[in-house]
């Protein structure tokens, strides 16, 4: 035997100078596995160039129709090839036809196995056509058989792994196995694909007492046509290998854990919009179920040669789950990518700070952490227009045509945010409070990252693009909206840049399928419309302004697609047009008069200076001024008012992004930058409270006495009255000299922020309150009893109403809320009752003891209640026979949410098609 090459693992052997007889070199039979598409002749040629001389024969395993060179034997199966091997052969070299071994590859393998007395050895596999990119250097697995190479993607061979060592398994691309062992183990498993077969064979060799080595001095270039380790068949094969190798005791816990890992991997991958892992897991499990008998038979056969326990396998296994580790890594990559569009972090820490946007991102991230500290520590406030989420099942029921419980109830659609937040809570394991906090924190991140990504898509990489997100969060309009507790406006602001971004295409996005862009445009618009429906017009409006100023990045079809997002809010808007058009329902927020001056001062210089920021500044200024102007119009309703405030901040943020994009000594640019700094400082000020500017407080905690002191039917309603509108949570109705609304005593939830249009019950309540306000009613509790008003809270007293309630007989003042006057109404009727039998809430309906009577529900009458709904004055009555009362809308409130789901599915299909085509 003669070694021409030397390496660390195989030091040169001194030549024998004595006359001792040299033992003959071990004989080797080469078995080439046919790989579809691989050049067999080239493979045979490289084998022929091997310097190892004791090659007895070269045989091929492949289909019958393949052409083979003269003198080369072909077998249909590997099993045949192995079993036909005679005892004169010491080793079998199994190699793929898409592998190109270096001339000394076989010699190194034989030499090392012979020297180490190992049973099986594998070559170092390099990716063909690269400058030494490593594919395999021997692998470990986790307990579930998932391979773990330890190699980074694209890692180049610098001989850093060139140590002969034992490994869990070696690649089947090139492996040398002792002939006798191979025959004893019945060869490779014909049911398995090459990668899994390698794993299976390695494991069996080790359990039979053999050693498996990686021999780095044996280098093989691999073209990768065989698709080793990819596809569901490989996964199924690895599972079969485990089923064959592990003892029953090990399998008893590995199988359940494996199923859990598969489930988590599938769900997590779906969140990353990857459906294949789910399909792969399903197919692999199904395949193994089908092939379970042959697996059991193989286990029995192997039992006879097994020499050691499972501990031998555990020796080389990685801890935990490789699959879950990869999913976690993918998640972190996605999050990182949101901030690091330039891939600065990926390029390496030394060059990170050279990325122009990173400084702004870091500064914005610091401010965001500071601005959300109270939410981290104490959760999202529940005050003003910020209400907690309802239980996901009930919220989704309401969104899909269930009863709208706001005020005295209505068949009209709830605000679309009810559906989205219900879905989010459902996905977050039903923990609605945690979901709400996560979403609130997510808003801050989304706003900052969204502005950065939007500017990036429009071709701007300056330091201000992330910083401008702070202006979006707390600029002239959003600060006002958040100041009254408008959590929905904050959500709308956070999603707006993403939705606008989705209708623009950068040159780097051209590679993606148009289906992908359409899908994203619809998805973002759906989410945006769920929070603030009117904002859906902003993407297409931005696109038109961009085109008007000469931009080419926008796509009208994407803008048109984004309008489909309105589907999620169609039911709500059609049922309550006053939300858009009734000026009397405005919250009453106006942007200070100096903001238009600041915006012009920041934008105009950039428009005058030649350069690419001109267009961005124009877009921002126009949007901001439109927002300011719209917020000053008194005839629009709260929906448009809210959107106008967000648009004003969004436009201002774009102006800031433009002003910071390119800092220079140009006087005009300096004016713009200085004004932008002023805008940022003004905006950041409102974030100092640590609540993202949201109104402080916890309405449900303040009014928690209602549920604490509730009777068997649960808490009734709370009538909140105040001369100061901001003291009333959510929307309020005008009364004589004060504002009022009813709240759910069990705790007010997001679906109740806005009040549906008044129904007969609301008119009667208004009349009753009007009468009480005159002071004429000595027993106001009796008057409010039918509305199930158990508590009257006069906020921020004393006022005229409190003065009147000082001289009445049946509302009992109870000192429960500091700063407010609380009155208990012992005469209040339960929300639902059948004679004296009280029914309790059950989701969006009621349940109680079945009886032959009728149950009165203190909610505006609608025939959608069942069973056998009837009018009980303004209220509803149903038959009590079933012991349950449910509402199901039959009108547009039922159909339109389904249409929204259809649009959502269409968007997802579009994304899937886009991914497939890419």
């Amino acid at each position: 035997m003669f070694f021409r090459m030397t390496d660390v693992a195989t030091p040169p052997t001194a030549e024998n100078t004595t006359s001792q007889q040299v033992p003959p070199a071990p004989s080797v039979k080469v078995i080439v596995t046919h790989v579809e598409g691989a050049d067999l002749h080239a493979a045979l040629a490289t084998i022929a160039r091997q310097v190892y001389e004791a090659v007895e024969s070269v045989e091929i395993v492949g289909p019958p129709d393949m052409e083979v060179e003269e003198g080369v034997t072909r077998y249909e199966t590997m099993e045949d090839a192995i079993s036909e091997t005679g005892t004169e052969i010491d080793y079998l070299w199994l190699i793929h036809s898409d592998a190109r071994p270096r001339p000394d590859a076989l010699a190194a393998l034989v030499g090392e196995l012979d020297r180490s007395e190992a049973s099986m050895g594998g070559s170092k596999i390099l990716v063909a056509g690269t400058r030494g990119e490593l594919e395999s250097i021997g692998s470990a697995t986790d307990i579930f058989g998932e391979p773990y190479s330890g190699l980074d993607e694209g890692e180049v061979d610098l001989q850093q792994y060139d140590v002969v060592r034992e490994v869990a398994f070696i690649s089947s691309v090139s492996m040398l196995v002792r002939r006798d062992l191979m025959q004893g183990l019945s060869g490779v498993d014909p049911q398995m694909k090459p990668g899994a077969a390698g794993l299976d064979l390695s494991q069996r060799v080790r359990l039979a007492g053999g050693r498996v080595l990686i021999v780095p001095s044996s280098e093989v270039y691999h073209q990768g046509r065989c698709g080793v380790q990819r596809g569901w068949r490989e996964q199924a094969g690895r599972q079969r290998a485990m089923l064959k190798a592990y003892r029953l005791l090990t399998l008893a816990w590995v199988i359940p854990f494996g199923l859990i890992v598969a489930l988590i991997d599938s769900v997590a991958s779906l969140l990353l919009l990857r459906w294949r892992p789910l399909a792969r897991h399903g197919a692999a499990i199904g395949w193994n179920l089908i092939h379970l008998p042959s697996t059991v038979a193989a286990r029995r056969r192997f039992r006879r040669v097994r020499a050691v326990g499972d501990e031998e396998l555990f020796r080389f296994q990685a801890s935990g789950s490789v699959r879950l580790r990869e999913v976690g890594s993918d998640f972190s990559d996605q999050v990182l990518f949101m901030f690091d569009e330039d891939h600065a972090l990926i390029r390496g820490t030394r060059r990170v700070w050279a990325s122009p946007g990173i400084w702004g991102a870091v500064l914005a991230a610091v401010v965001v952490v500071f601005a959300t500290r109270s939410i981290f520590l104490g959760g999202t406030p529940i005050a003003g227009y910020s209400f907690p989420f309802e239980a996901p099942g009930t919220a989704l029921d309401r969104f899909l045509g269930g009863w709208n419980d706001s005020g005295l109830g209505s068949p009209n659609s709830v605000h679309p945010s009810t559906g989205l937040t219900g879905l989010a809570s459902l996905l977050w394991f039903g923990a609605e409070d945690a979901t709400r906090n996560l979403l609130t924190l997510g808003f801050a991140a989304l706003a900052v990252v969204g502005m950065g990504r939007l500017a990036g898509r429009l071709g701007f990489r300056g330091p201000g693009r992330y910083l401008s997100g702070l202006v979006l969060l707390a600029g002239p309009g959003t600060a006002l909206a958040a100041g009254v507790g408008s959590w929905l406006a904050l959500g709308g602001a956070a999603l707006l840049p993403w939705s606008v971004r989705s209708v623009f295409l950068h040159d780097s996005d051209r590679g993606k399928s148009y289906w992908t862009h359409v899908g994203w445009a619809i998805l973002w618009a759906l989410a945006l419309a769920a929070f603030s429906p009117v904002l859906v017009v902003v993407p297409i409006l931005s696109l038109l302004i961009w085109k008007l100023s000469g931009g080419t990045e926008g796509r009208l079809i994407l803008g048109a697609a984004s309008i489909l997002g309105l589907a999620v809010a169609a039911g709500f808007l059609l049922a309550d047009p006053g939300w858009l058009l009734d000026g009397d329902r405005r919250v009453g927020l106006s942007i200070d008069g100096f903001w238009p001056i600041l915006i012009v001062l920041a934008a105009a210089p950039m428009i005058l200076v030649p350069g690419r920021t001109r267009r961005l500044a124009s877009l921002g200024a126009v949007l901001a001024l439109v927002g300011v102007l719209l917020s000053s119009v008194s005839v629009v309703g709260p929906g448009i008012e809210e959107a106008a405030l967000v648009i004003a901040s969004f436009g201002s943020a774009i102006v800031v992004a433009a002003a910071f994009d390119l800092l220079s000594r140009n006087p005009l640019r300096l004016i713009a930058a200085a004004t932008a700094v002023y805008i940022v400082v003004l905006s950041v000020g409102s974030l100092a409270d640590g609540r993202l500017g949201l109104l402080e407080g916890d309405t449900n905690a303040s009014l928690g006495f209602a549920s604490t002191l509730a009777g068997e039917g649960g808490a009734g309603r709370i009538l909140v009255v105040s001369e100061n509108r901001s003291e009333i949570p959510g929307e309020a109705r005008p009364g004589p000299g004060f504002w009022y609304r009813t709240l759910d005593g069990e705790g007010t939830t997001l679906d109740e922020v806005w009040l549906p249009p008044p129904a007969p019950g609301d008119d009667e309540l208004r009349a009753a309150i009007g009468r009480i306000a005159t002071g004429a009613e000595l027993r106001p509790g009796e008057l409010l009893a039918d509305f199930s008003i158990e508590w009257v809270v006069v906020a921020e007293g004393p006022g005229d109403f409190e003065e009147i309630l000082a001289a009445q007989l049946d509302l009992i003042p109870t000192p429960l809320v500091p700063g407010s006057s609380v009155y208990e109404n012992p005469a209040a009727m339960p929300l639902a009752h059948e004679d004296v039998e009280v029914w309790r809430r059950d989701g969006a309906g009621f349940v109680g003891e079945p009886s032959s009577g009728r149950t009165t529900i203190s909610a505006n009458f609608d025939p959608g209640w069942s069973p056998e709904s009837g009018e009980a004055g303004w209220a509803t009555s149903v038959s009590a026979e079933a012991g349950v009362a449910r509402f199901r809308s039959t009108g547009p409130s039922r159909v339109l949410p389904l249409a929204a789901i259809g649009v959502l599915l269409a968007a997802l299909v579009s994304l899937a098609v886009g991914r497939f085509r890419r």
Binding site: L608, L629, A806
Partner: protein, 429 residues
């Protein structure tokens, strides 16, 4: 070109945004016109040889309810009907034997008067029940000299607790007493403060009652060796009419102010010589009290009008050997008066004093309200005061109608006791 277009658009929007006025803040609806409930809160007393009878006189035939309460709960209740006469009487003893307590009358109409008449063996007192609680009231006219008793009863018939702050003013100035600083009156309860024990030896006392929370109706209970008197505290006003019987004894007008600043006042007298304007003028010190002895002017019945530059409360006190009476004045003349409880006590004489402060003569009709109502009509010349003696047949009360606005007070005399009360003006009359 594009940039100038954008600049123009931005300029246009900026100008529009700057020039568009900020929209007005949303405001609630108009404040509801006050429409106080038809109720009256009465001081009642059962026991110690005294019993209370409620006289009810209304302009309508309707149904009502009277509920006596004490210690935070109702102690008795009765439904009543005013019948065709528009009047009725309720003996409180038939409802509840509650001692010194209070009651709430829910009335069939806002134009209904309720008076409580407390009759003892040798004492008699009457008071018109208050209907509307006020934030600030003043109770003047009492004294705590030797042999005298003065109690302040604070009544709270409503569902909520009430808190009042008391400021007591006497001839020595503002009195200081921790007991009187802040008083809590539980719901459906009344509290009686014995001022004679807290502040003995005061010749003239006035109590300013400021309600901090809830609603309170205060009344005073005065007693001397001869008789008792009950009268209501009243919100301060700038114009008062008081009608005083003539004859023996001392007749005092007590004027008290809650204003921290000095208040000028003028007293016009309607006496035998007709109207004498500004017969008496003076200054009431801030949160002070003055007393004018009408007996020094004439022994005839007189009416006076107190006009002040600040809010004051005026009371008339009648001290005779045959009894004592105290009442607050009226703030305005009216064409219709109700005198619940007047002429309801048997074996007594009831006199009605009618002042016509108008420049025209009045034709007045006095109706004695009972199951068989009787009425008598007579003229009252302008700027003059006349006395009308009611028949001896017991009635639930009186109703007086006039073609010009008048002021009316009634006095019931029974051997060694008397009762003095001002009528209830029907404001829309």
């Amino acid at each position: 070109m594009t940039r100038y277009l954008m600049l123009a658009l931005i300029g246009l929007l900026a100008v529009a945004a700057a020039l568009t006025p900020q929209p007005p803040l949303p405001v609630p609806g108009d404040i509801a016109a006050s429409d106080p409930p038809a109720v009256a809160v009465c001081a009642v007393e059962e026991g110690r040889g005294r019993t209370t009878s409620l006289g009810i006189v209304s302009v309508v035939n309707g149904r009502g309810r009277f509920t006596a309460f004490a210690g935070g709960r109702p102690t008795g209740s009765t439904i009543f009907e005013t019948g065709s006469s528009g009047s009725t009487s309720i003996p409180v003893v038939d409802i509840s034997a509650v001692g010194i307590a209070a009651g709430l009358a829910e009335l069939p109409d806002i134009d209904t008067g309720v008076g409580s008449v407390v009759v003892g063996e040798e004492t008699l007192s009457a008071n018109t029940c208050a209907s509307t609680p006020a934030r600030q009231t003043i109770l003047g006219g009492g004294s705590t000299l030797s042999g005298e008793s003065l109690e302040l009863q604070l009544m709270n018939p409503y569902a909520g607790e009430a808190v009042v702050e008391l400021t007591v003013v006497s001839e020595v100035g503002i009195e200081s007493s921790d007991t009187l600083a802040t008083v809590i009156i539980p719901s459906r309860s009344s509290i009686v403060l014995d001022l004679a024990e807290i502040l003995p030896g005061r010749a003239t006392l006035s109590v300013i009652i400021d309600t901090i929370r809830g609603s309170v109706i205060p009344v005073g209970r005065f007693a001397n060796d001869i008789d008792t008197a009950i009268w209501s505290a009243t919100p301060p006003q700038q114009d008062w009419f008081l009608v005083s019987p003539g004859g023996e004894g001392r007749r005092s007008v007590i004027v008290s102010t809650s204003s921290p600043a000095d208040v000028n006042y003028q007293i016009d007298v309607y006496g035998p010589d007709g109207l004498v304007e500004a017969m008496i003028e003076g200054v009431i010190p801030g949160r002070g009290i003055i007393s004018v002895d009408l007996s020094t002017l004439t022994d005839q019945q007189v009416a006076i009008r107190v006009i002040s530059t600040g809010p004051v409360a005026s009371f008339l006190r009648l001290d005779r050997d045959s009894g004592v009476g105290l009442t607050s004045g009226s703030t305005s003349p009216s064409t219709k008066w109700l005198m619940p409880g007047a002429a309801s006590v048997g074996e007594s004489t009831t006199l009605v004093y009618i002042l016509n402060p108008d420049i025209e003569d009045a034709t007045v009709t006095v109706s004695e309200r009972r199951s068989a109502t009787t009425a008598e009509q007579f003229p009252v010349p302008a700027d003059s005061l006349i006395v009308y003696e009611v028949s001896e047949i017991s009635a639930d009360g009186l109703a007086i109608e006039s073609d010009v606005p008048i002021v009316a007070t009634w006095l019931t005399i029974r051997e060694s006791s008397l009762a003095l009360a001002t009528g209830v003006p029907v404001l829309d009359g």
